[in-house]
Subunit: 216 residues, 2 copies
Amino acid sequence: MTDKSNIGKRRAAAIEKNSTGYNARRQEIINAAAQVFKVRGYRGTKLADIAKVLGVDRVSLYYYISSKDEVFEEVVTGVVIANTDRIIEIRDSSIPVREKLRETIEHVMNAYAENYPFLYVYLQENLSHVAASRVEWATKMREVNRRYTQALVDIIQQGYDSGEFRQVAPADVVANGVLGMVSWTNRWFDPNRSQVSAEVIGKGYADIIIDGLCTK
Amino acid sequence: MTDKSNIGKRRAAAIEKNSTGYNARRQEIINAAAQVFKVRGYRGTKLADIAKVLGVDRVSLYYYISSKDEVFEEVVTGVVIANTDRIIEIRDSSIPVREKLRETIEHVMNAYAENYPFLYVYLQENLSHVAASRVEWATKMREVNRRYTQALVDIIQQGYDSGEFRQVAPADVVANGVLGMVSWTNRWFDPNRSQVSAEVIGKGYADIIIDGLCTK
């Protein structure tokens, strides 16, 4: 316990110091961990497994990361932010609005599969009910979620404003419906086992949503 | 503890005996509990609150129910089965397939609001990760879920077979997309606080899905 608490202080100091070498090694560990999580799943992964693929002792990892949860959170955060940035980029691009919606739906479905299982584990988590130690992280992620949802609401609203989409319901209801369609795949779609690909699902959903929204 | 275990045996015997009077009183308690859950939420409800609205002592409830969890489970089970039966009825009816799909989507959204928060709490639960004491219940509910999803897959397939729906993706992918759209409302829709009603959401989603699927 004294040892662990001591390494905790050294880790905190190293993160604070923010040296290039330390950060690079920490990122290397996070990337290796991501691969282990992909193969073994979240529950099936132990810190020792991550140490093993890196060819180091488990104890030496503690200088860089405190727990399996922390490293998982780091992976998820990176993926969710990259995903959000992409949707915002699509929203702000100058392609036709129906193409924006198609790009978004197909991108999200592909991101789920490419980053499996990170985004699905994240979706399964209720950010309102995280442990006290993770409140700061949850607050940050709720803000990312808000930006993500808003970008999609904006795309729907652009279609309403231009008259390309018929206004079947308020823009946020439609945006949440689209998010629901793709996000719910966390309950039934496993890209490693499914006979149908993320591309087929994304394209099918985009076809339905876009033809359903476009004025005839 | 001896008392509690003794009442447990008496309850088990009474349930086993299946008398009309006992069953009616137990159902009365479950119905009262449903109202308390609606007002106070699952977390905010104590067995004592349920006893209070019934004007009885908390201890006397133990002859009918073992815990808050059990009574909540009873409420959820009834609602989920009723919902599933309705979708099966719609599937087997002779109305046009696009009307079947509209009825289903609108029915499910309305059922979420009318039975708030039961179906949402249920949707938030991962049936693969329930406690050992609830495995039997989870197994039963997985079977109900399977029938529910299958009924919707069948409706989509009917539309494919008749040529009324264009085949944008396998029927189960589309059915899960529809379920996702409506089920995801558990994350953002609270019928008691929302400015938009379940009717508006259901109608909007039905419009999108049906026009998105119907051949032009």
